[in-house]
Subunit: 242 residues, 2 copies
């Protein structure tokens, strides 16, 4: 029997304990910028990515021939190979390499899903929206979309993306929770002006204050440029070959 699967949206990692994750697929969403950068990395040909909790832990992996990427408060930590800008993950020298990665929100959210017993944990961004959505349609499990947010607060860009996924899956999965309904409506109302809206977000304002030199907002809102499906396998994120 092919019963209708359910899709839920969780607006902050702090709300995750109120959801049941067993036998569910969790999509981790950190549009600005961890999950976008992870999609770019696999599109570049990275072998595997190890999400780690702290910069200190991340640095240890230098000795094992990992590249080490670390970001806190939207800035690259000095001494690491990379920060968290997706542009850094386009470098062809990354092909076949392993990366240890720690960020303010995204990598923590991934580890939390694992601890709470999710069946599968995958990575979503606007860059793999269609590829991810098609894969989710063909799975036989309920889906939880987890917005990584900003230090446990709700953010705009992750919610918009969750709404985009709910919208893509309409007719295949049903959003019974209010958070799914709200996210979908937010996305549909703004589909024609995503960049304009996200430039108003608190995280985009943070980039502005930090005087970032690349336009990460526009980059992270590109649609379907990386046909990859990053999935957690043991401790590592790998690219799932469909």
């Amino acid at each position: 029997m092919n019963s209708i699967k359910n899709i839920e949206v969780v607006y902050s990692p702090a709300l995750l304990p109120f959801y049941q994750l067993n036998n569910k697929i969790v999509v981790v969403i950190d549009i600005l910028r961890a999950t976008t950068s992870i999609c770019v990395a696999f599109n570049t040909g990275v072998n595997k990515i190890l999400p780690v909790a702290s910069p200190e832990e991340c640095a240890l992996f230098k000795d094992f021939d990992f590249l080490c990427a670390a970001e806190r408060n939207a800035e690259k930590i000095p001494g690491f190979d990379m920060g968290n800008s997706p542009f850094e993950f386009q470098n062809p020298l990354l092909k076949d390499r392993n990366i240890a990665f720690t960020t303010t929100n995204g990598t923590k959210a991934i580890k939390m899903c694992k601890e709470l017993g999710a069946e599968k944990i995958v990575i979503g961004s606007f860059l793999n929206l269609a590829y991810l959505s098609n894969w989710l349609k063909n799975q036989h499990l309920d889906v939880v979309l987890l917005c990584a947010g900003w230090k446990n607060k709700v953010n705009l860009e992750d919610t918009l993306f969750a709404g985009a996924v709910v919208d893509m899956l309409e007719g295949h999965l049903i959003a019974t929770c209010d958070s799914g309904l709200m996210a979908q409506q937010l996305f549909k109302t703004n589909a024609h002006q995503l960049i304009l809206l996200v430039r108003k977000s608190s995280h985009a304002q943070r980039f502005k204050l930090l005087n970032h030199h690349t336009d990460d907002v526009a980059f992270c809102l590109q649609l379907n440029t990386t046909p990859v499906l990053p999935i957690l396998s043991g401790e590592y994120i790998i690219n799932h070959i469909q």
Copy 2:
């Protein structure tokens, strides 16, 4: 100096610990139905309301000539004078009486704000939207809008109301957080069809399953029918005379 005040929206009591409440006014929002019922009660002429944590504690106040109202999971608890339907609080016999009140989400949220050190705690619903908003404009404190939600999950009707308040206060208070921006947009997009939208909410579906006899959804979405400002004073909620 009259600096621009800030307004933040908190989508669930579980997110409240990530906000600073000192020197702020918190508006507690539980549209379906606790904060609506509280507005109705004061409009009927109730003297004061004591929010309590548990039905057991609530029942104790019968001995002190309180009327006792208790709801859990959208149903009145048997043996109490009232549940949580706003229709019950229109009874003229309530005039000048004191009420002890416990509900699934709303009264818990009120107590939490107090514990976290909010300067002032007031009650919001569509029924006192304009009256509340005008009062907030004339205060000299930042504002936090707290959605009581459903068992720590985000809900539609509380978020819609938060968006309505952000919208009413535009030009007077500024929403710097993404949650305020999102709530305002949700409200503006749906201002013409609030009842229709809220009938799709998970809580409205819950009422349907319970076969409620009154149309609480339509009642709770009435605009500006009760010119009252319920405010916490010590342990009690009273009607603040402006």
